[in-house]
Symmetry: C2
Subunit: 438 residues, 2 copies
């Protein structure tokens, strides 16, 4: 999926890469600040970041896609309503509290947007909200409105990196990707580490461009790009209540050709989606599952998702254990449950280029086993090193490389194909999620 094959020796090298990707397109400014508050739900204080993304001039060219979860957060509800607004001038974004099913959540989102609009000389409906964090908690509206001037004071038009940093929660590092097209560019940044199997969108993704693309073309381009990127990843199979992707155009630069924009947008989305998986909670290995020979694209996607969502396969990969029987189990589970009419004798499965299933039989021997172990070890991002008290914390603050565990499955049924990215299951994931809020 990724268009690059990067290696980062350390955090500084990764940081230099992010800075190269981060120059903001013309017409945008971003500014963030932190604030402390006392949640109504827990007897201890918490910290939140507040981010403003502002256009120099309101634009009619904006697009957004939201989660299909049946309990959408208040910012998603409000964002959907404002899709029909004539123009948008700013986004106001916070982490720590997702404002989902919180009493008075919609009014809270409206008040924060109104506060930002007031500061920026906009109408309230020209501001779109986005929130990520704990579900069910109430937004600290007063504290956020008090903090907005500090975010406005921080507004600058040179780098997206402070914005990419402000929206993080359990992410280990920021994620920024850029593509140049003619005189203009597309810059995207994303947050997301857990509760990730997007359905029409992913946690929070912001795509900014100065290329002149009209509203309808922009929305069509976003839908196409998402279907091939964020809708084909899963960290832990949980579709968030807050997934939101925004694409805004300031229209400052001429578009050389429509195809160039779609291609660049697809690349930025694919790269960011892979970044999100690689920085998924507790991820040691990224799995790239290329399914081919399916009767239809939906079947190919279902098989790929079933593989990357199999806890047993994920745990085996985590241990560099090429227990490929679990790969077969995962494919067989979804094919059987969906009545695909799979013929085991026509299926070919490869891991790291090695054939492990063909003609209905697995091909396992000690030499193959050794090569598979080597492939898994090469794709590992880091090894677990628990503290004496059994606490597992990822020892990395940057992605050391962009290698994947490469799984190829030819179903032998038809001509449709899909590639899905996923992650392994580790002690670090359990540690992170057994007590995330404390």
């Amino acid at each position: 999926m990724s268009s690059t094959d990067l290696r980062f020796a350390d955090r500084a090298a990764h940081r230099a890469f992010l800075e190269r990707e981060a120059p903001l397109p013309a017409g945008f400014r971003v500014g963030a600040c932190g604030l402390e508050f006392l949640p109504a739900e827990l007897p201890r204080p918490a910290r939140m970041n507040l981010l403003l993304i502002a256009l120099d001039r309101p634009t009619p060219s904006f697009a957004a896609r939201f989660t299909r979860n049946a309990f959408p957060g208040a910012p998603v509800v409000l964002g959907r309503r404002r899709l029909d607004a004539p123009t948008v001038g700013a986004l106001v974004v916070n982490n720590k509290v997702s404002n989902v099913c919180a009493p008075g959540g919609l009014e809270a989102a409206e008040r924060v947007c109104a506060g930002a609009a007031d500061l920026l000389g906009l109408a309230p409906e020209q501001v779109l909200p986005a929130s990520t964090g704990v579900i069910g908690w109430r937004l600290p509206v007063e504290r956020m409105i008090e903090a907005l001037p500090a975010a406005r004071a921080a507004l600058q038009g040179s780098s997206a990196l402070p914005a990419a940093e402000a929206i993080l929660t359990t992410d280990l590092y920021p994620k920024v990707r850029r593509a140049a097209v003619g005189e203009g560019s597309i810059v995207g940044f994303a947050k997301g580490a857990g509760m990730i199997e997007p359905n029409l969108a992913t946690l929070l993704v912001f795509l900014l461009t100065d290329l002149a693309v009209g509203r309808e073309a922009l929305r069509a381009a976003l839908a196409t790009a998402l279907d091939q990127s964020f809708n084909r990843i899963s960290v832990d199979s949980d579709t968030s209540t807050s997934d939101s992707v925004f694409l805004l155009s300031s229209g400052r630069k001429p578009l050389p050709a429509p195809g160039a924009f779609q291609e660049a947008l697809a690349r930025v989305c694919a790269d960011l989606a892979e970044d999100v998986v690689r920085n998924g909670e507790g991820v040691h290995h990224v799995l790239r599952v290329a399914v081919s020979g399916a009767a239809g694209e939906a079947e190919a996607l279902a098989v790929g998702k079933a593989v990357v969502n199999s806890p047993l396969l994920k745990a085996a990969v985590n241990g560099n254990d090429p227990n490929v029987g679990r790969l077969l189990c995962a494919v067989g589970k979804v094919a059987g449950a969906a009545g695909m009419g799979l013929d085991p004798a026509r299926v070919v499965m490869r891991v790291g280029g090695e054939v492990v299933l063909q003609g209905g039989d697995m091909r396992l021997d000690p030499a193959t086993e050794q090569r598979l172990v080597a492939h898994l070890r090469k794709a590992e991002l880091y090894a677990s090193a628990p503290s004496a008290s059994g606490i597992f914390k990822p020892p990395i603050d940057h992605p050391p490389h962009e290698r994947c565990v490469e799984i190829a499955i030819d179903l032998g049924m038809g001509w449709a194909a899909a590639t899905v990215l996923g992650a392994d299951l580790s002690h670090e994931y359990v540690t992170e999620n057994a007590d995330y809020r404390s």
Copy 2:
């Protein structure tokens, strides 16, 4: 689901319970032995148990249900073929190697059955096979045939417990359940700890009865009982390639009333299914999710399964963290993806009897939080205690109690309901599965 509310102070108390449940119905004998072999796939020896279940006289009254996984094991393929045999006289069962997609697997299963038939004076097609263990490995056929006489020599008609022990793999303890009906009884035993979200059957379950029930009635009774028990549990969402449930009647005792048999069978299946979840790999908490107010039973089941299969909710429960936002996320994910048309304002969610969502809002405050934590702690089977090297091993060899984390979800849409059992996600699960084979 369980008809009893048992507590076991220690392994001896649990053992005494199992012995009370284990008396074999008239007309059955079981015998097991161990053997060592060298797998063709790995350069180190392994151990296997071999079990014979023999009827004193072949019976036409037998039923079996098998996995819907599209890569069924050779014993499943052979078992399906033999469902039409006039009579069955024995089962031959092994652990360690599941004989799934192994080269020559069907012939290997046939040869082991033929060896058992030869010893017991039966025709080969009167013997049904069942295997559980690693996928893709070949059965050590010669070693198994050499060992069969030892299993036959061990045949006895008093207790099912040696059989329940012989079939274990990563299970912590054996699982046996019994129901008396008139002069006769039904005794069931099961193995299963991982790769468990049965679809029409579960790993290996053997149900033996001396009650006189004809073949067709027996098969209908089994289908009904499974749909309400083993088809409503999930340890880790992975549907095995080997799931098989067998029900055999020796016909030695009169059946007082058909309804009594169905009821007793349902109870044995429900109790065994809960035992399987409680003894799931790394399970610290059993989750009982009662979904009501659904438009149809399929929707209720889908919502229950989505809840017990949410890695984020499972990890939170593991840490006794009442992060109920993840419950909402899981319900919203499946309701949104399936287009159920859920109205968040009509949904009521309870955990441990506490209302956590009503009227579209979550009800969270520090006092509720404390009561939820207490409920989770009370349902915990054991606390994690990693070794200095970070290895997590369950410290129990029996189930200390039968309490569950009680989750109730009223969807507010209709009148259908379903109860699903599931498990949390722990370090012990990751440890078990990151390198199961070594």
